[in-house]
């Protein structure tokens, strides 16, 4: 029980040598450090967040009034396909693996990921896939017009993707870049799992890991078995398009419905791949700003694993309208509703964590609180959509768009913002401005609700998704105008956030090692952490090692179950 810390001689306080511009760039390109790669992932994702956001804004201008001519139909179709693909694969997947990359080794007291070079390889694969996808705008006949960006929606139902119906290279860009990114993501997921299972510091048993790490484990495991079916389906699509195969060719006996199944076997768990790390972020932020330990840690772990399991059996709830048998429909109603049980446990546990705490409304916490409300709504509209007969009405309408933006924007993106406000001081050594943060929060919140609350209604009034225009007599005009205005308010919020990131990096307040008085291992090292993370390999005895240090009279390990 000795207090032995072993500083690494000679490196601890050595000042970083100043690098020239070229050397600095070189150091980022060749890095295998999990923190630098994490930051690369995050910066890459934030860049594409702006790009996909701009696409969304263009679509909102087009839809703001009936029979508008702001975008051509081709361009509108390309934009919503690219918006969806970008947000899911280039923003969502990259940012969770970025944040995971940065935090997982720090949180489990490791010096790097299990496979640092694989880590760099995964990042550059994903990055190349994303750039390839965007090259489609200028590739092909791009220089003569708006290029050949994919325009078959992000779920790309066969046979619209067959050569006969999309003869250009649009769909090829989409399929190939997703295959490439798929392998990158697979590498990242394997790396996280190997890191967690093989690199934990002494005393960090599985049931002592921070919940964020747990959620990254569940997400990575889910990625392993869901990204790969997508890759398989994309390979089939490429075989169809390039080798004259017949997988989805109705004329040769192939079944377009098979593509739907394969896509949604990936597509539904994918939503959980994104939302589970968001839960993880909430699990870290909410306790720290309530000043209480998370309520029911084992239940939270069990619920996360439960959600992951159930999520692999629910895919066909995206297919209630394709004409499954009544028994098939009923099965997927049940499995979908079952997701509500572990999710309910999570929400109750979060409320119990807040209960009796001393809640501080700093910016990260504000985003997490909004997340709680919005996730509650998203879950409830999810229940509505799981009711198959009602889904026959709501499917592919703006109601569905509203629902999944409540989960992906209202829950996932809000948590990502919380994470950035929360861990930015760790990564840069400087605090983000709270004033800008609060402006960002309120603008984004108001814009979000104007946009997505209204979308529920316009969907119930019969507006289908993926349409580039609509007629005035449908009565959707006013609502769409509100949606568009809300979109622009969100955009202003995001721009403030981008400004905040840059401004605070240069002029922000010094953060110190532990600005939030938090409890997990990453806050024990300096901000930003040195390349080797910890001067000595940490050893832990409870879920909150820093709490134990700060409260030697009352440490966690005395009470934890």
């Amino acid at each position: 029980m000795a207090d032995q810390t072993l500083p690494i001689p000679g490196t601890l306080d050595a000042a970083q040598p100043r690098l020239g511009m070229l050397e600095w760039l070189h150091s980022w390109v060749v890095t295998v450090d999990h923190k630098k790669l994490g930051i690369l992932y995050i910066v890459y994702a934030l860049f594409f967040l702006l790009v996909a956001g701009a696409e969304a804004m263009a679509m909102r201008i087009q839809l703001a009034v009936p029979s508008n001519h702001f975008l051509s139909p081709e361009l509108f179709n390309e934009f919503f396909t690219m918006h969806g693909t970008t947000m899911v694969f280039l923003v969502g997947m990259t940012i969770i693996f970025g944040i995971g990359n940065y935090l997982v080794p720090l949180m489990i007291g490791a010096r790097d990921m299990a496979f640092p070079r694989l880590n760099a390889f995964s990042f550059w694969l994903s990055a190349f896939g994303g750039l390839f996808l965007y090259f489609s705008f200028i590739g092909g006949f791009g220089l003569y017009g708006m290029g050949s960006a994919p325009d078959v929606t992000w779920w790309a139902y066969a046979p619209l993707t067959a050569k006969a119906f999309t003869p250009g290279h649009n769909t090829d860009y989409w399929a190939l870049s997703l295959i490439v990114m798929g392998f990158g993501t697979l590498g990242a997921a394997i790396n996280i799992l190997a890191t967690v299972f093989s690199m934990r510091c002494k005393g960090m048993t599985l049931m002592r890991m921070p919940l964020f790490v747990w959620l990254m484990v569940v997400t990575s495991a889910l990625t392993l078995i869901t990204i790969t079916p997508l890759t398989a389906a994309q390979i089939m699509l490429i075989i169809d398009r390039y080798l004259g195969g017949h997988f989805f060719d109705a004329q040769a006996g192939g079944a377009p419905v098979v593509w739907m199944h394969f896509f949604w076997i990936f597509g539904h768990p994918e939503v959980y791949v994104l939302i589970l790390p968001a839960f993880g972020i909430a699990n870290e932020v909410i306790p720290v700003f309530s000043r209480k330990a998370i309520f029911g840690y084992p239940a939270m772990v069990a619920a996360s694993i439960g959600i992951a399991f159930v999520s692999t059996t629910v895919w066909a709830h995206h297919m209630f309208t394709v004409g499954m048998t009544s028994v098939g429909n009923t099965f997927f109603v049940l499995s979908t509703m079952m997701v509500g049980i572990p999710t309910g446990i999570k929400i109750f546990n979060w409320i119990a964590t807040l209960w009796g705490g001393k809640i501080r409304f700093a910016t990260p916490m504000l985003f997490c609180i909004a997340f709680l409300f919005q996730f509650l709504c998203a879950g409830l509209t999810g229940i509505m959509l799981s009711v198959a007969p009602w889904d026959w009405q709501l499917h592919n309408s703006y109601f569905v768009i509203a629902h999944f933006h409540y989960t992906l924007a209202g829950s996932f993106v809000f948590c990502i913002f919380a994470a950035i406000y929360y861990w930015y001081p760790k990564a840069t050594g400087r605090m983000l401005s709270e004033t800008f943060g609060k402006w960002h929060f309120w603008l984004f919140l108001i814009g979000f609700h104007m946009t997505f609350d209204t979308m529920h209604f316009v969907g119930m009034f019969g507006m289908p998704r993926s349409i580039y225009t609509y007629q005035a007599d449908r009565g959707w005009g006013t609502l769409n105008m509100i949606i568009s205005i809300g979109g622009f308010i969100q955009a202003i919020g995001v721009l403030l956030f981008a400004w905040n990131l840059i401004h605070s990096y240069l002029h922000g307040k010094e953060a110190g090692n532990d600005p939030w008085d938090a409890w997990t291992l990453e806050w024990s090292t300096s901000s930003p952490p040195p390349a080797y993370n910890f001067a000595a390999d940490p050893v832990v005895r409870s879920r909150r090692p820093l709490w134990d240090i700060k409260h030697p009279q009352d440490p966690d390990w005395k009470y934890e179950r």
Binding site: P73, R291, K292, V322, F361, W392, L479
Partner: protein, 349 residues
Amino acid sequence: MRQRRALSSLRSWLTLIPWFGLSTTFALADGPRSTPTIWAPASTPAHEIYGISLFVLLITGTIFAVVGGLLAYALIKFRVRDAEDMKHEPAQIYGSVQVELAWTVIPVLIVVVLFLTTARIIFAIQDAPKPKSALDVTVVGHQFWWEFRYPKLGIVTANELHVPVSTKSNPEPTYLKLLSADVDHSFWVPQLGGKTDLIPNHPNQMWFDPDATGLYLGQCAQFCGIEHAKMLIRVYVDTPDQFQAWVENEQKPGVQDPSVAAGRHIFETEACVNCHTVRGTAARGTVGPDLTHLMNRATIAAGAAQNTPANLHAWIKDPNVFKPGALMPAMQLSDQQIDQLVAYLTTLH
């Protein structure tokens, strides 16, 4: 300052409630029938769905009120009040098996109730026995228009579906057989029921029994290509007499008016006949809509434009005016030829 912010967060949530009423008002400003809302059901399946929607809304609304209320209460009650309050950590509670078990049971019970209700409605709609008096219609989805075939009546038309009203005393439901000629589409007329997809190599079926006459709007709900947005559906629910009259007229071959022979000649010698049919003439193409009774339709180009001579002229000259990307080519005819052609088409009642 902090309290005020917490409270205004709550307030922004409370505004949700009037939101619904407000949105409805906005949407209905243009008149009741033109908005294809799911809240004005007009057939048995639509009514069933409407009923279960209200039930589910009630349950989810209650959950939202209770859980959201708890959350709001916790946030206000347990906020940190001042600097003094921040000095001490609150009591640490790690969990409680009893409490957690209790709140696992509640969602389980809700799921059971919702599931049983839903299952009943699924079977009621999907497995409803088909009555003898049912009208059969085969719907074929094309990029970007609808083909409606009435196999028993020998009628083929496009984009505007005519069905009889179905009353309690004289039930006459319509059964749609859904096929696709090219890519996936989805048939959705919200007031008449849920949507069903049209998928190549995967025949589907749906039914509705409209309980009030009138015009019901809908459109394709599965992205099917560049002009997916302009693949609109108009369903006319007729009284039995109106429907009978419509059927009788549709069954006749195309009108042959000698005064427009020039236009007819252009139609039959140009590429028009490769795609379009006018029954009783040499035009037997099946790629595009059947034009035998074109003038009985209110719109052209799957609802993209009103069916007026001027619009017909513009459409034939360059379909991209109404529907950029439509598969009909611009016919490269002189204005005079188009005028003659339109004159012919306008006789096709």
